[in-house]
């Protein structure tokens, strides 16, 4: 994997408006920081190579390399990536009640992973008004505080960096596809230094079609409701075409067309809907607001799910074929659209010394239908 430095990061990401605010480049040094959802460079840095570039999910992402690292398999461009099982699931009876989004599967898995010591800390994301705030959680009882979906692009990976500096060696992370792409790059330790060795014990992915830019969302919503009193945000499945925001003073509904204007530019080049670089991935289940879709990808993920179910933290069931096909269809579409965008903007497999956003083997690209 090619590693460049902060000046290239500025040119390739910030100046091209491709930053998705995942936080992977931040908390590593004094120069890159995320504040109220926006990442920026505070002072100049003259290094030719840096972790900031190495970890960014929007530059020089070597998909084949990352898949080899996670799964010992090539990247074949399958709609929902590599999977061992795809199930429906919900939190088990032994799981503490909480304000879960849908089935509460993520909270259950993280709680269980902490309780059993599979992970030494969990990187979760909280919300303060409309500002996403990453946290490092060590007490399993605290996990449910971080339940409920945040639609804003959150700098969650910043907390992975912080956790690594604090000495955690088996962190769990719950993240969106871009965040987990960054995490996979971190795990690859591209600068090859001992102090930067893989600190992750478990990666749980969240399905994502697109996210929302925090600053733009704030500007949009601030005069329409009291952002300090939001307790839930939801985008119900189609054909609803709305976003629902529940506050202390009632619910506010926004047409999705207005919300889509707040999506970061970067989401259009993301080929990953189901968070493929994870041990397990979780999302909604169409038609069943009380359940989740659970994709199990790695042996570690499989063990965790099985043990959690055995110990009453998880309940799983078969996934109806229709739902599965819908999921693959949606994921496949996002992938194809993204690769088309990448090709059009000359960001995939560039040659002649030009830096790319993504590199993938040529045959997979062909299979997806993008030359």
């Amino acid at each position: 994997m090619q590693v460049f430095g902060p000046n290239e990061l500025v040119a390739d990401v910030f100046q091209k408006d491709l930053c998705v605010g995942c936080g992977a480049c931040t908390e590593l040094c004094p120069y890159l920081r995320n504040h109220r959802g926006k990442t920026g460079m505070l002072f100049s840095c003259t290094r030719a190579q840096g972790r900031c570039y190495a970890y960014c999910p929007k530059v020089e992402v070597d998909l084949d390399g990352l898949f080899a690292l996670m799964f010992n398999a090539p990247y074949e461009g399958k709609p929902i990536g590599i999977h061992r099982k795809v199930l429906t699931a919900k939190a088990g009876l032994r799981m503490t009640a909480g304000k879960f989004q849908a089935g509460g599967v993520v909270s259950a898995l993280v709680t269980y992973a902490l309780k059993t010591g599979l992970i030494d800390a969990a990187v979760l994301t909280d919300r303060k008004g409309l500002i996403p705030v990453p946290h490092l959680v060590t007490n399993p009882e605290d996990v449910t505080k971080f339940a409920s979906t945040k639609y804003m692009a959150a700098p969650t990976v910043a907390m992975v960096n912080k956790g690594q500096q604090q000495g955690y060696k088996r962190m769990g992370i719950v993240g969106t596809p871009c965040q987990l792409t960054a995490v996979a790059k971190i795990r690859a330790n591209p600068l090859q230094k001992e102090e930067f060795a893989d600190p992750i014990g478990l990666a749980i992915g969240l399905f994502c079609t697109w996210s929302l830019d925090t600053r733009r969302l704030l500007a949009f919503m601030a005069d329409k409701l009291d952002v300090g009193r939001i307790h839930k945000m939801d985008i119900p499945p189609p054909p609803a075409e709305i976003m629902v925001v529940e506050t202390d003073q009632g619910r506010v509904v926004f047409p999705l067309s207005q919300i889509r204007a707040l999506v970061p530019n970067s989401c259009s080049i993301c080929p990953d809907l189901s968070a493929e670089l994870a041990d397990l991935s979780v999302g909604v289940l169409e038609g069943r607001p009380d359940l989740n879709t659970l994709i199990i990808r790695t042996p570690k993920g499989e063990d965790l799910a099985r043990n959690a179910e055995r110990d009453g933290f998880l309940i799983t069931a078969e996934m109806p074929t229709e739902n599965f096909e819908h999921l693959c269809f949606a994921a496949g579409n996002k992938k194809t659209r993204a690769f088309e965008q990448l090709r059009e903007r000359d960001l995939v497999n560039t040659d002649g010394g030009k830096r790319a956003a993504l590199r993938v083997n040529a045959s997979t690209l062909k299979r997806i239908g993008v030359e």
């Binding site: 040094c29 004094p30 504040h35 920026g40 002072f43 100049s44 290094r47 972790r51 600068l191």
Partner: protein, 652 residues
């Protein structure tokens, strides 16, 4: 310094120009002096303050130059001899009052000493205050050397009382801050009494009402005084001529430029051909004196700083005299013989004389010049001015930069006048995006903060010092509060007027004479006006940034006071709070995660980059022991330990 008090008549002493002015004021029996710190004038009030008790003087650092002039004028109206001092900019600040003072007249002698700074060695402008003389119609004197600085000042008081007019006494950096030998005279008894009389005929100079009205009476009266001044100037013993009776070139000069002229003539060996008319009375011009010398000369070169003030006045006069004496070539700035900006020196004047006469300029041998050119670039790396080690401004601006950069809404800082003005320069964070005169930062911010209705959402900050706050920023803050402007004023309170030499000001418990004074609390004033006020120690970088983040999120006018004493204050100078060292094993140096944050970005002079070992290192000679670098090091490799002194103090 003490020689200013104890020196006896006939003794010769090496005095700084400003010290000579002080001695002149004492010999003239001045009773009251007021000023505002401004380089190169500050030493005058400083030294008068030191001898105030012994000489029964009242000496004041006023809140600004306008009030300083008013305080001095009050003394004069009550019959005392008074002095007002300021740098060039201060005359602009005082000018509205002076405009009226010229018309109202004075009673006891009053002299206003104004110090220009050609080349802006310690200023943001090299303005030439002499143009105030004809504009306000106030007579102008310029001492030409150190003896003049003393003796001409005494003469100025005689002049002032004869005309009942305030007198401008103009010095420049190369006189005020240079030193030369001065023969002293005696100090008089100081027994004037103050009484303000106003019960006489309304238009009487000494017993009437002190005002600029009625114009139809007072203006012609003033112009008559100016005519009288011109007559007196014909006999002024400080206008001197040296040189041949019929010089090829007559150099007309004033102030320090006359010293350069003497030296330039000497350098070129032109004493036989070039004469020098050194004028001490530069407005109004003594017509007959000038006529005599113009008539005897073939050509004229006017040598002055900074603008062609004297040159233009002489040319106007020469035109009127042309019928009698003929039209003479007059060289100077307007024809390019001398530059119209920057300060002069003997080389520039010699250059002009060389061009006119053809006399060759002495040069260094070519081979030597060649070797110099080869080595100068590398041998003497640039040495930009920057914040002193231990300066609280470095820490304050560091926090401001971090916060504004993290915030990413293109927030900016409107600058003001003080040591923090150095933050204009990219070498010193480059945070200031505007910089003009005293208090203008907050005035601009008040304006910027109302532009939200035109779509501007950038956070607006202003900075000003504790002295600047009282001088001129206060009305701007009132404006911001009254108009509910969205801005944050950051008061950098380092407990003194630092850039000019650490003089006291209204929030300090001491005055110019070293006596106890009423200290006005800046935070209380801001709160009373109605701003939201926060107070932090800028050395506590984390808390300062937290406070600033909170403030810039809010609407309306806010004040953040960053209070920490200046590193050069008498209480701190030479005393280190912490012993600081870098652990070379923990230092990340150029590695990812640091890349030389402390030396490359924070840039405190107390830190140096040890190139061979690729680590940062503390320069123990330079480090002031403030410990801030220890809190910003990303690797925690800088350690600070309380110095023995502090431990001793805490134990005691």
């Amino acid at each position: 310094m003490t020689v200013l008090l104890t020196g006896k008549k006939g003794e010769q002493h090496l005095l700084m120009g400003n010290e000579a002015i002080v001695r002149g004021a004492l010999e003239a029996g001045v009773n009251l002096a007021a000023g505002y710190p401004g380089t190169p004038s500050s030493e005058i009030i400083e030294n008068l303050g030191l001898v105030a008790k012994d000489r029964n003087l009242y000496v004041e650092w006023a809140v600004n130059e306008k009030v300083a002039a008013e305080v001095a004028a009050a003394g004069s109206f009550a019959g005392l001899r008074t002095l007002a001092t300021m740098k060039m900019n201060g005359v602009h600040v005082a000018s509205d009052f002076l405009l009226h003072l010229a018309l109202s007249g004075v009673r006891g002698g009053m002299v206003l000493v104004a110090c220009d700074d050609p080349n802006a060695h310690s200023s943001q402008h090299e303005g030439d205050m002499r143009y105030f003389a004809p504009m306000l119609e106030i007579p102008l004197l310029e001492p030409g050397d150190f003896q003049d600085a003393k003796d001409l000042l005494k003469w100025a008081y005689e002049l002032s009382e004869q005309l009942r007019s305030v007198i401008f006494f103009r010095s420049t950096t190369r006189l005020s801050h240079a030193s030369g030998q001065v023969v002293l005279d005696e100090l008089p008894a100081n027994d004037r009494r103050a009484e303000f009389r106003f019960d006489g005929f309304i238009l009487d100079d000494m017993t009437g009402i002190v005002m600029s009205l009625p114009i139809n009476f007072k203006h012609p009266q003033l112009q008559q005084k100016i005519k009288q001044a011109a007559d007196l100037f014909e006999e002024c013993p400080f206008n001197t001529y040296t040189g041949p009776p019929n010089p090829e070139i007559l150099v007309i000069s004033s102030s320090a430029s006359s010293l350069y002229s003497i030296e330039a003539i000497h350098l070129l060996g032109l004493e036989g051909k070039v004469g020098l008319l050194k004028l001490a009375t530069t407005w109004p011009l003594p017509r007959k004196l000038i006529q005599t010398h113009l008539a005897q000369a073939r050509q004229v070169l006017v040598v002055e700083e900074v603008l062609p003030f004297l040159e233009e006045n002489i040319k106007a006069l020469a035109y009127e005299l042309a019928g009698d004496i003929g039209a003479k070539p007059i060289f100077g700035k307007r024809d390019g013989a001398l530059p119209t900006y920057g300060e002069l020196n003997p080389d520039l004047v010699a250059g002009a004389l060389s061009k006119i006469t053809g006399a060759p300029l002495p040069q260094r041998p070519d081979s030597y010049q060649q070797r110099i050119s080869e080595m100068i670039f590398f041998g003497a790396p640039a040495r930009d001015i920057t914040f002193c080690p231990g300066c609280p401004h470095r820490a304050s601006l560091w926090s401001i930069e971090n916060v504004l950069q993290m915030d990413r809404r293109k927030g900016f800082v409107c600058g003001d006048v003080g040591c923090y003005t150095m933050a204009l320069h990219p070498m010193n964070f480059g945070s200031l995006k505007t910089a003009h005169s005293m208090g203008s930062g907050t005035g601009l911010a008040s304006g910027f903060g109302k532009l939200g209705r035109f779509g501007m959402d950038q956070p607006v900050l202003s900075v000003c010092g504790d002295s600047t706050f009282f001088h001129a920023a206060l009305p701007a803050l009132v404006n911001a509060v009254h108009n509910q402007s969205n801005m944050t004023m950051v008061v950098l309170d380092n407990s003194g007027t630092a850039m000019t030499g650490f003089q006291p000001h209204p929030s300090i418990e001491k005055n110019a004479m070293g006596e106890i004074a009423e200290a006005i609390d800046i935070a209380k004033v801001c709160a009373a006006i109605g701003a939201e006020v926060a107070l932090c120690d800028p050395f506590d970088v984390e808390r300062t940034q937290e406070a600033l983040f909170q403030l810039i999120e809010k609407k309306g006018p806010k004040v953040l006071i960053l209070k920490q004493m200046c590193a050069l204050s008498p209480e701190k100078k030479g005393f280190r709070k912490y012993e600081v060292r870098v652990d070379p094993k923990a230092c990340l140096g150029e590695d990812c995660g640091c890349n030389r944050l402390c030396t490359r970005i924070y840039r405190c002079p107390g830190l140096v980059w040890d190139k061979p070992n690729k680590v940062a290192r503390i320069d123990e000679i330079v480090c002031a022991g403030c410990g801030v670098c220890a809190s910003i090091c990303p690797a925690g490799a800088i350690h600070k330990v309380l110095s023995e002194n502090d431990k001793g103090r805490e134990a005691a």
